[in-house]
């Protein structure tokens, strides 16, 4: 039996974890070891943008230890991610290579949406329970220090996801500046939380209720795990929160004094969400980022059978964003169809893979979202909407690629070398933008009148030509006429000249 040994490293803000896994097709993912150390990196970066030197060294030492543990287990591959503390550093370009040089561990930085997506994957990795929970209306509530992420499911599919600045540390921070009686404290947290929740409910729920809540966090999950429980009825949960008195919790439940306030805030926050959603069942699967990392790895390497179609989630989310901005779903659909056919037909020439294909679909879906704001400034508005909407599962760079493809679909392409504003995009990503733009533009050009003229599209490559055949008897003079410029850009980027021909 082939067994892969994989290591996931989570360089978190307050604690760092190395988790060793064995992955095999027959036995799935099996955790073998988990090594956790608590080094507070967050406080430094949040306050100063830098981690103080002794902690940088301490972290380097820890990574070195991780590295030798990985070696001892004969780990074949690993993935190490830094989260918000690393994300918010001013000087990751200095610190990360330093750590890598000393420990051999390369750390990638996760954007918020990528991190949440991995958390989500870690939940999905729990298979049967996950499927059961999302088969009814369900929300994943991912509680972090700075913000929380609520993702909604409807009939097995992720429909929306929203980030709110209601993280437990943040809430606790706000509370700690105000001198209140214990009884008032509950109300204060509730007030802070409920104003934002109301907006969320209005936007996404309406009259709907969410029956199941999956919670991913550090405090509630830990208590549940310590009690060997994963599920709790919402009523029981709320009762317990109401009786969360400090001495009792710290003594009877053995929570350290340091953790108590955050557990308390987490409890009250969850109670608000339960009430707002009208939830009845809570599931705390006790998963960590590392579980998501290994799941993603195993899924990409096709070492496990997928428990859930995550791409569909992303597409569904994009569809919902488009819907919110009155996008033309039908148009998006046909644009997608044509664009994907061109993508597939010219694969040999552009060399892009399935991930880029997904980005192309998203660009097609979101191609006209900006018209909700201004029809005249469709391009810029679309770009801005995409850039400020979190699409779960996409990295920051990927989101920027989608936004740019949509922008250049409508506007003149700006070459990499001509860029005026600083951007995070590297040359490779920029090339992806160019290629996807070329494809989307041609697709767009074939659907000028939005009249499904190219529903039975036939594509063929002849010498240096991409021959696009339309059905006989369809008037394609408009498309033909406006095609020239698009075709030239396509040829420039992909090396094939698209030409429209009509079947005789």
């Amino acid at each position: 039996m082939a067994i892969h040994t994989f290591a996931a490293v989570d360089v978190g803000s307050s604690q760092q974890e190395l988790k060793i896994f064995e992955i095999s097709r027959t036995r799935g993912i099996r955790p073998v070891d988990s090594i956790v150390r608590r080094i507070d990196l967050g406080t430094d970066t949040y306050n100063t943008g830098k981690i103080r030197p002794e902690r940088v060294r301490e972290m380097a030492k820890l990574l070195g230890e991780f590295s030798s543990i990985m070696q001892n287990y004969g780990v074949e591959s690993y993935k190490a991610y830094g989260t918000s503390a690393i994300r918010e550093m001013n000087n990751p370009s200095l610190v990360l290579p330093y750590w890598e040089r000393l420990s051999g561990i390369h750390i990638d930085v996760l954007s918020n949406s990528e991190q949440r997506f991995l958390d989500y994957k870690s939940v999905a990795s729990r298979g049967e329970n996950f499927r059961k929970m999302i088969s009814d209306s369900c929300a994943i509530v991912d509680i972090g220090g700075g913000s929380i992420q609520i993702s909604l499911f409807d009939k097995d599919v992720l429909t929306a996801t929203q980030n709110m600045r209601l993280g437990v540390l943040r809430l606790y921070e706000k509370l700690s500046h105000i001198d209140v009686r214990t009884a008032q404290r509950d109300e204060m947290v509730e007030e802070l939380v409920n104003t934002q929740l109301e907006v969320f409910c209005k936007l996404y729920l309406g009259e709907r209720r969410i029956h199941n809540i999956i919670v991913v966090d550090d405090y509630i999950s830990a208590i549940m795990q310590a009690n060997h429980r994963e599920f709790i009825e919402a009523d029981e949960f709320c009762d317990r929160v109401s009786s969360l008195h400090r001495t009792e919790v710290t003594e009877k439940m053995d929570v350290s004094d340091d953790d108590y306030p955050l557990l308390y805030v987490s409890g009250v926050l969850m109670r608000c969400i339960i009430r707002a959603f009208g939830a009845s069942l809570i599931w705390a699967p006790g998963v960590t980022l590392c579980d998501g990392i290994v799941y993603e790895y195993a899924e990409r390497r096709k070492l496990i059978t997928k428990t859930h179609d995550f791409e569909q989630d992303i597409i569904e989310c994009a569809g919902n964003i488009s819907k919110r901005y009155m996008g033309d779903a039908e148009r998006g659909e046909s644009l997608q169809k044509i664009a994907l056919r061109i993508f597939d037909a010219t694969k040999k020439y552009h060399g892009m893979g399935s991930r880029e294909k997904l980005l192309l679909r998203l660009a097609a879906i979101l191609h006209d979202c900006g018209k909700f704001i201004s029809m005249a400034n469709l391009a810029e508005c679309s770009y801005n909407i995409i850039m400020s909407t979190e699409i779960i599962g996409l990295s920051h760079i990927e989101r920027e690629i989608v936004a740019n493809v949509v922008l250049f679909n409508h506007k003149d392409f700006v070459y990499y070398e001509e860029q005026e504003n600083a951007s995070d995009l590297d040359e490779k990503s920029y090339t992806t933008i160019a290629r996807l733009t070329a494809i989307l533009r041609v697709a767009n050009g074939l659907d000028r009148a939005h009249s499904h003229k190219f529903d039975n599209l036939h594509l063929a490559i002849k010498d240096d030509l991409l021959v696009i055949q339309a059905d006989a008897g369809v008037d394609i003079s408009l498309e033909k006429g406006m095609f020239g410029q698009r075709a030239a850009f396509f040829e420039e980027v992909i090396g094939l000249l698209p030409v429209i021909r009509q079947k005789k």
């Binding site: 039996m1 073998v32 988990s34 150390r37 001892n72 830990a222 310590a226 009690n227 009877k252």
Partner: protein
């Protein structure tokens, strides 16, 4: 994440809410632990006084009672003195202050020592003499040839290694080493000797009688590098060649023994030339050994311990032993110089330091005077010689009972892992290891073979630090990752983890035990161990070593119960659960075996359960602060203590749990130090066969009629009333069972030709 394991069910653990007037923590319900400790030593001494015990074993028990007392003084009396001197007024579990305890202990100890020497003089020595073993303290009883032999021995072996030390103003009172045997002397300068080695300028604050008489004090340490017991060659006897009693040619076998101190005493004159030795008398002192290392300040724990080991020699004297009838002038010097109270001086009627008797036990011959009923450690049926130990463990959990079964499988477990190419890592905690330990050798070899070897060497193991530092260095040199314990906690748990990469992934093999990884003591101590490769145990074992390596604790434990964080609550819960069963009309029953019971929280929980009707049967070898037979409180509790051929050491805990019994074993006693200040592991025994074996140990020991004593309401221990009972010697039964099991497991190989001698089992 500082969230720890959830605690026990509130209803059952919080105890005596039913009767608020009754305070189960009242000092009236507890025995003082030091006095209980002395009661244990008395049980050892009683074995020496017992005529059924073979004579040589009686010597051993007397020797043990002496070394026990030494340890008691160094550790317990020393810390009580610190407390008393420091003005510490807090009362102990039995309501006694440190001063009160000291007074009570010293009074008891005097009685105890008197009993030791009366046992020696009136029972042991006459019995030895009858068997032909004679101690000679008077040179008149020696033949010329014997004296010649001894003089010769003195000149060649002894004289070169002794250092006489005299005291005067320029030479302060010498450092008398802890536990060392010394000869003190009073000297007077010969009139024609010229300028002496001693000046006369000392202006003592208090003029001692000896000073007024112009006597000087000198001392010689009896060298510890030479054997204290000198056996005279048999052919030197005066009657060599004829038997004195019968006049026949062949004399009766006789072993004539002279102690080293007797020999040196004879030659004192020659050590102080120019002086007349007026008087010589042996003396021995005990110093406090209770050392506290401030770990927070100690940058390098290792160095700190080495330093404190040196300091130990300078600890305050807390006991002085001298021969009865010592010259008061000499005694006065010692008492003054060592700052002793009168009740700290023990005048004994015989040789000091009775531990020499264990050497006498080893003199050649006299086999009929030794214990032979107990077989050597037997092979473990599940682990036949040369088997694939990992394959055997995969078949199912293996329970090991030492010393009835051999410790070799544990050594093999590590030795095999060291050379097994599939093994990735070996992790182990070492508390006390033997000299030349095969386990250390195996670990070093494993590191050499490129395995990841992590060893936690507990440097704070009392009296063993020097030994442990040596091993730690050796392991480090071999490339092992050595962890020197945890700050503030002594790591007492006994656990080994072997991580192996197998065809279907990583598999972890775990050995958990109640006793140390010490192949020598495993022949003398009764301990149990478990070899398992069940995943939940493997996961927990991995987490234990991560924790010991300084990483965070796991979110939860599958099987193992760890002190100091989780164990006490778990035990309180398990005890309380029995009470709940009784309240629900079911049976409540606890059987537990340990070395010491003195944790007030646990005792309170036991009282509380017993009051509700839980039957509690305890086997406590040593200290027991719990009182039995308190009306309305502990009438349901019995405490047995077994002092036998082997040192009872296993800790096993059985809970009836309403018909679904749970049984645990581990490294922890029910003592505050184990539950609150040490890293300990208690593990459940789950395999039905293993459970049965462990419960069998408890049941047979509870039925023991031969080596058991039973705690009485007055705090004394009485032998089992044997009337109407079958004779049961639990240790002997376990030994016989191990022999039978090993025999049954042996494959019937026809060409095997081994003659097994029948073991002689005389009737008691």
């Amino acid at each position: 994440m500082g969230v720890k394991m959830a605690k026990t069910d509130k209803k059952t653990s919080s105890g005596n809410t039913a009767d608020k007037a009754l305070d189960l923590r009242s000092p009236a319900y507890y025995w003082n632990r030091e006095l209980s400790w002395l009661a244990f030593d008395l049980r050892c001494l009683n074995e020496a006084r017992r005529k059924e015990t073979p004579l040589m074993e009686r010597l051993n028990f007397l020797s043990i009672s002496a070394s026990n007392l030494d340890e008691f003084f160094m550790v317990r009396v020393a810390s009580l003195q610190d407390m008393a001197k420091g003005g510490y007024t807090k009362k102990d579990i039995a309501g006694m202050t440190a001063t009160e305890q000291l007074e009570a202990i010293l009074a008891k100890t005097h009685e105890f020592v008197d009993l030791q020497y009366s046992t020696l003089n009136h029972q042991i020595l006459p019995a030895l003499k009858q068997e032909g073993i004679v101690f000679l303290s008077d040179y008149d009883e020696l033949s010329e040839a014997e004296i010649q032999y001894l003089d010769n021995y003195y000149e060649t072996e002894v004289y070169p290694v002794i250092t006489p030390m005299a005291v005067d103003s320029s030479r302060p009172f010498p450092l008398i080493l802890n536990k060392s045997l010394n000869l003190g002397a009073l000297l007077r300068r010969k009139t024609d000797a010229g300028p002496g080695i001693l000046g006369h300028t000392k202006k003592a604050v208090k003029a001692l009688k000896s000073e007024r008489e112009n006597l000087e004090f000198a001392t010689v340490q009896v060298p510890s590098v030479l054997p204290r017991v000198i056996v005279l060659p048999e052919n030197l006897r005066r009657d060599a060649g004829k038997n004195t009693e019968t006049g026949e040619e062949k004399p009766a076998k006789q072993t004539r023994i002279v102690l080293l101190d007797t020999l040196i005493r004879r030659h004192m004159d020659s050590l102080f030339r120019g002086y007349d030795v007026i008087y010589t008398c042996p003396f021995r002192i005990m110093r406090s050994a209770d050392m506290d290392i401030d770990e927070d300040e100690a940058e390098d724990l290792l160095k700190e311990i080495e330093k404190s080991l040196k300091q130990r020699r300078h600890g305050d004297a807390i006991r002085l032993e001298v021969e009865a009838g010592i010259d008061p002038r000499l005694l006065q010097i010692l008492v003054e110089e060592l700052h002793l109270n009168p009740n700290e001086v023990f005048q004994v009627d015989g040789p000091l330091d009775l531990t020499y008797l264990s050497k006498v036990r080893k003199v050649p011959g006299y086999d009929d005077l030794r214990e032979h009923r107990y077989a050597d450690p037997q092979p473990v049926p599940e682990l036949p010689k040369g088997c694939d130990i990992f394959a055997q463990i995969r078949k199912g959990d293996i329970f090991l009972c030492h010393p009835y079964e051999t410790f070799q499988p544990v050594v093999d477990f590590i030795a095999n892992a060291a050379v097994d190419p599939q093994v990735l890592a070996i992790k182990q905690t070492l508390y006390r290891v033997s000299g030349n330990s095969p386990i250390i050798a195996a670990l070093a070899k494993a590191a050499d073979n490129g395995k990841q070897v992590t060893v936690l060497v507990e440097l704070k193991a009392r009296f063993d630090e020097e030994n442990n530092i040596g091993w730690a260095r050796k392991l480090e040199k071999a490339g092992c990752h050595v962890i020197y314990g945890l700050v503030g906690l002594k790591t007492h748990s006994k656990i080994t983890l072997v991580v192996r990469r197998e065809d279907d992934g990583i598999r972890r093999y775990v050995h958990l035990a109640t006793g140390n990884y010490n192949d020598i003591t495993a022949r003398l101590y009764t301990d149990v161990g478990l070899l398992t490769c069940k995943e939940p145990f493997g996961e927990d074992a991995t987490a234990v070593f991560n924790m010991l390596s300084g990483y965070s604790e796991p979110k939860y434990w599958n099987k193992l119960i760890l002190a100091p964080l989780w164990m006490k609550d778990r035990f309180k819960y398990l005890i309380g659960r029995e009470k709940t069963h009784v309240l629900n009309g079911e049976e409540g029953h606890i059987k537990a075996k340990m070395n010491s019971l003195c944790d007030p929280d646990i005792i309170e929980a036991l009282y509380d359960a017993a009051r509700a009707g839980v039957k509690i049967e305890l086997i406590v070898r040593g200290i027991c602060c719990l009182k039995v037979g308190i009306p309305g409180i502990s009438e349901n509790i019995t405490v047995h203590s077994i002092v036998g051929n082997y040192l009872e050491h296993a800790r096993i805990f059985w809970f009836a749990n309403g018909g679904k019994p749970e049984i645990y074993a581990g490294s922890a006693d029910w003592m505050p130090r184990n539950l609150d200040r040490r890293v300990e592991i208690v593990f459940p025994l789950e395999d039905p066969k293993v459970k049965e074996k462990a419960e069998h140990i408890l049941d047979v020991e509870l039925d023991d009629t031969e080596q058991a004593s039973i705690l009485q309401p007055d705090g004394t221990y009485a032998r089992v009333d044997r009337r109407g009972k079958e004779k049961v010697n639990s240790q002997l039964i376990f030994s016989q069972e191990a022999v039978a099991a090993a025999k049954a497991a042996k494959p019937p190989v026809s060409e095997q030709r081994v003659f097994v001698p029948e073991t002689h089992q005389p009737e008691e």
